[in-house]
């Protein structure tokens, strides 16, 4: 399972991006995207912003779960109060066949199982806490890129912990 995480600002501008792999079930935390897919990931992620705009007014929840799917890529979304989007693209190593969705419980194998949803939610919640700390800095203005190495390591830690 490989993940690509990005924070998208209110003007649909990227503020932060991070790529990692699963650390569960003996995963080494490295992403397994091909070079080609790396470029594609950004497109897939940004193309789901249209769907975010539709979904965001139907529910006041911050966590909007899996909102989009492009072949074997699943996009989970988390909206902050300030209209900043956290998007996580997850790509299972093997494509999910429709028959296996009911019995697989590992978070790597099935992106739409309740267990995965919960794990992604925990990941987002932890990132959100750190994001709010980042914007509390008096020198940070909305839609500025987040460059702090501490923030990056916190996101990495959350990824290791939950995904």
């Amino acid at each position: 399972m490989s993940y690509y995480f990005a924070i998208i600002g209110t003007q649909d501008n990227p503020l932060f991006e991070y790529e990692f792999g699963t650390s569960k079930q003996g995963g080494d935390g490295q992403s397994r995207f091909s070079d080609q897919a790396r470029h594609l990931n950004q497109f897939i992620l940004h193309s789901s912003l249209d769907i975010v705009e539709e979904v965001q007014w139907t529910s006041g929840q911050l966590y909007l779960k899996v909102i989009d799917k492009f072949f074997n890529n699943y996009i989970s979304c988390f909206m902050t109060a300030g209209n900043v989007k956290f998007l996580l693209l997850h790509q299972p190593t093997t494509p999910v066949s429709s028959s296996s969705t009911r019995n697989s419980t590992s978070i790597g194998a099935n992106p739409q199982s309740p267990q995965t949803e919960e794990a992604v939610k925990n990941f987002f919640t932890e990132v959100y806490e750190n994001y709010v700390k980042a914007i509390m800095s008096p020198f940070y203005k909305v839609n500025m890129e987040i460059r702090s190495p501490v923030f990056r390591s916190r996101v990495a830690a959350a990824g290791r912990k939950y995904l």
């Binding site: 965001q56 007014w57 139907t58 529910s59 006041g60 929840q61 911050l62 909206m79 902050t80 109060a81 300030g82 209209n83 919640t125 959100y128 806490e129 750190n130 994001y131 709010v132 700390k133 980042a134 914007i135 509390m136 800095s137 020198f139 203005k141 909305v142 500025m144 890129e145 460059r147 702090s148 190495p149 501490v150 923030f151 916190r154």
Partner: protein, 226 residues
């Protein structure tokens, strides 16, 4: 705000310091803003005297750069705006997880401002929330504060009688609205009477005028639910 953007961190200079690991960018004890809790707020109140001093300096700083009162109010508004944008996220994360909901319509947004934002900033709720009774302006809402804290030690000279320094608070409200996806213009107006025996001489109305697209969207969402 000009002086703030000039000192923008994280530029080229910041990158160099990062490599050497010294300088003002990192505190000596290694504790950055990420190591501090977000929730230590309940008991920590600030001194009103120091706020009044700071605010009077902010007003006189703004006053030294402008030619007329509208300009001055605009400047105060701009100083408050980024605070509102950030406050929204901070207040939300301090809620219990099950109460963490983004405001979806105008009313829930205004109630959030009247209750949560006011409580956080001034230690009490705003006094009233009203919708414009004029049928021509359905996009206007009013938040009433009988005694704005920011105006407690501000005396406005006669020739500036239109000025209301609560424009700063109006900027905060505007920031909250903009951040939540409800673009609006917010202005502060003094409505307290000048005559003797007036109970609230400093009574201030914050007029919130939403952009047309907000109402349009609100109608759309409302019709979908019905």
């Amino acid at each position: 705000m000009a002086h703030l953007s000039a000192g923008k961190p994280g530029g080229v200079a910041g990158g160099k310091e990062l490599a050497t690991g010294s300088g003002l960018r990192y505190p000596a004890n290694g504790k950055t803003i990420y190591h501090r809790p977000l929730n230590r707020s309940k008991t920590s109140e600030l001194s009103q005297a120091s706020f009044a001093y700071l605010f009077s300096e902010m007003v006189s700083y703004a006053l030294s750069k402008v030619t007329d009162i509208q300009d001055l109010e605009k400047r105060l508004n701009m100083q408050g705006h980024p605070i509102g944008l950030k406050l929204l996220d901070l207040l939300l994360i301090r809620e219990l997880p099950r109460n963490q909901l983004r405001p979806l319509n105008i009313i829930s947004l205004l109630v959030l401002i009247k209750e949560k934002v006011w409580q956080h900033l001034f230690g009490r709720q705003a006094d009233r929330l009203e919708k414009s009774s004029n049928a021509d302006t359905p996009d206007e809402y009013m938040i009433v504060d009988n005694e704005p804290l920011v105006n407690a030690y501000i005396s406005v000279p006669k020739e500036m009688s239109q000025l209301n320094c609560a424009a700063y608070v109006a900027g905060i409200i505007e920031g909250v609205c903009d951040g939540g996806g409800f673009p609006a213009r917010v202005t502060a107006h003094t409505v307290g009477g000048k005559e003797e025996g007036e109970m609230w001489p400093g009574k201030t109305v914050f007029l919130v005028k939403f952009q047309p697209e907000v109402l349009e969207r609100g109608a759309l969402i409302g019709s979908e639910k019905a």
